[in-house]
Amino acid sequence: MIKVENLSKSFGPKVAVNDVSFTLERGEILGFLGPNGAGKSTTMRMITGYTPPTAGVIRVGGNDVTEKPIEAKRLMGYLPESAPLYTDMTVEGFLGFCAEVRGINGADKAKAIDRAIEMCFLKSVRHQSVDTLSKGFRHRTGFAQAIIHDPDILVMDEPTDGLDPNQKHEVRSLIRRMGQSKAIIFSTHILEEVEAACTRAIIIDQGKIVANGTPDELKAKSELADSYVVSISGIEASAVRDKLGSVIQAAKVTIVNDKAPTVVARVFPKKAGTDGELGQAIFAAAAQHNWKINEIKKEEGRLDDVFRNITLSDTKTQ
């Protein structure tokens, strides 16, 4: 539904987005990750037709956004960063305005407003003026505006920013539910959100895509992926390191915690993705040396690790 080809955007000498290409189909929820200033918002502004690209083509439902902006915009709902709203209106009035501009009138309009208010839990502030809303309610009103016309495509810039934990959870499940029938792209700084809601994630750094895959694929890139954490009682740390280090499948052993009588060690595999072999070897070693194992856990890899590793470049150069 969205096809982005070789998209670039420069502001004067500053390159904000650099040759970005990706596609998004119905049923997909794409998480857009990246450090501050990576170019996430700029990319979304180009997709939604606010900022014209310096180079590249964006197609939304087959419409070139530069050539047929109105047709493309009709298919999309957009929640801009920090959810700007007309503060001189009530929540209901604002949603009504957005519906009318999108050609929804009369009974359909009332229905669309009711639906959006219900989905975004805005009932209690329905008749309240927007400028007296709390930040979270403002954000929810912005979200409601984006889904007022039940669009096929949703573009959201940090949709859970400023929400309380309950609302974050609600919005995530809402996104997941809507994602079954829509194409959704949203940016976030919360990595658990990507695991909780996304079918795919793109990490962008300094305007370039540095990773594109399912959350599991990205996690597998972590150094910690497929390593084992073992907690053993009644033994010296050095002994654990020696014995586990000599296990054939182990590449490296690090001691995570050494507080007598318990030692916690992390064992890295020589080859990632080998199912359980290292675990079996650790159990065998423990049995052989009669260790008291408290706990053994296989690590799936952590997104924040991957994120930090691939995007650290810019903090280093600064």
Binding site: Y50, I70, K73, Y86, D88, M89, V101, R102
Partner: protein, 243 residues
């Protein structure tokens, strides 16, 4: 077309949702009355004409019209709602015209509310009502011209005060470059052709024609272009902001 009206409606409601609109209407009516009766000495003239009422409009509008229009785009920029508005499925032109029309309608309402003075002059004497109608039309165009300039200056900055000052300055130029006390001075310094060129920019000759009861096609074209050009400039400024 429908979307223009949706924008206009929202913008108009914005005016009336705040007390500023009512304050403005009262100030406008008080000022026109004060100028007409105190400075224009409407009563002492003993003439059945609204000349002393309309002659002050270019000056009264000079401050009141920029005050009405200064928030048109600067507020959208400051609040960030421009991003919301321009990603809705409507063209930029519809937005510009819709907003412009809203404030023009608001000013027209203010103008219409001066009707008691028209009734008064008809009650007291026997004025030429066709002249009065032409003068009202001239005043309507004048408000549109100032407003269009304010639309342009408000797209230029996110600060309403700067937008206000810029448009007062530009409108003042359009008044002064055709105001006899100024043109008389210019005439002593520059050749006649220069004076005529400068006066051609002014709103004053056109307004005088309307106030004399003439609806001249050249004056109408002048006002339509003074409305059209700044609106066009508004669209260029906004396109530039997004790039």
């Amino acid at each position: 077309m429908k979307s223009i009206w949706t924008i206009t409606k929202r913008e108009l409601a914005g005016y009336f949702n705040s007390p500023v609109a009512y304050v403005f209407l009262v100030i406008f009516l008080l000022m026109t009355a004060a100028f007409t009766f105190l400075i224009g000495q409407f009563m002492d003239r003993n003439q059945a004409t609204l000349q002393p009422f309309f002659m002050w409009h270019p000056w009264i509008y000079l401050f009141l019209v920029p005050a009405v229009g200064m928030r048109l785009w600067s507020e959208e920029r400051r609040q960030g709602t421009m991003e919301l508005l321009l990603t809705l499925p409507i063209s930029l032109w519809h937005c510009i015209i819709g907003k412009f029309l809203a404030s023009w309608l608001f000013l027209t309402l203010a103008l219409v509310m001066t009707f008691p003075i028209w009734i008064t002059v008809n009650y007291l004497g026997d004025p030429d009502n066709s002249v009065i109608i032409a003068s009202y039309i001239g005043s309507f165009f004048l408000a549109g011209a100032y407003l269009s300039i304010t639309s342009m200056t408000s797209a230029f900055t996110r600060n309403q005060v700067i937008s206000f000052i810029l448009s007062v300055v530009i409108c003042l130029f359009l008044v002064l470059c055709g105001w006899p006390p100024v043109t008389d001075v210019v005439e002593t310094l520059a050749p006649r052709s220069v004076v005529e060129f400068v006066v051609a920019f002014s709103v004053m000759p056109g307004i005088e024609q309307f106030n004399n009861g003439q609806i001249d096609s050249r004056a109408v074209i002048y006002f339509l272009s003074v409305i059209g050009f700044p609106l066009f400039a508004t669209s260029i400024i906004i396109r530039g902001l997004r790039a």
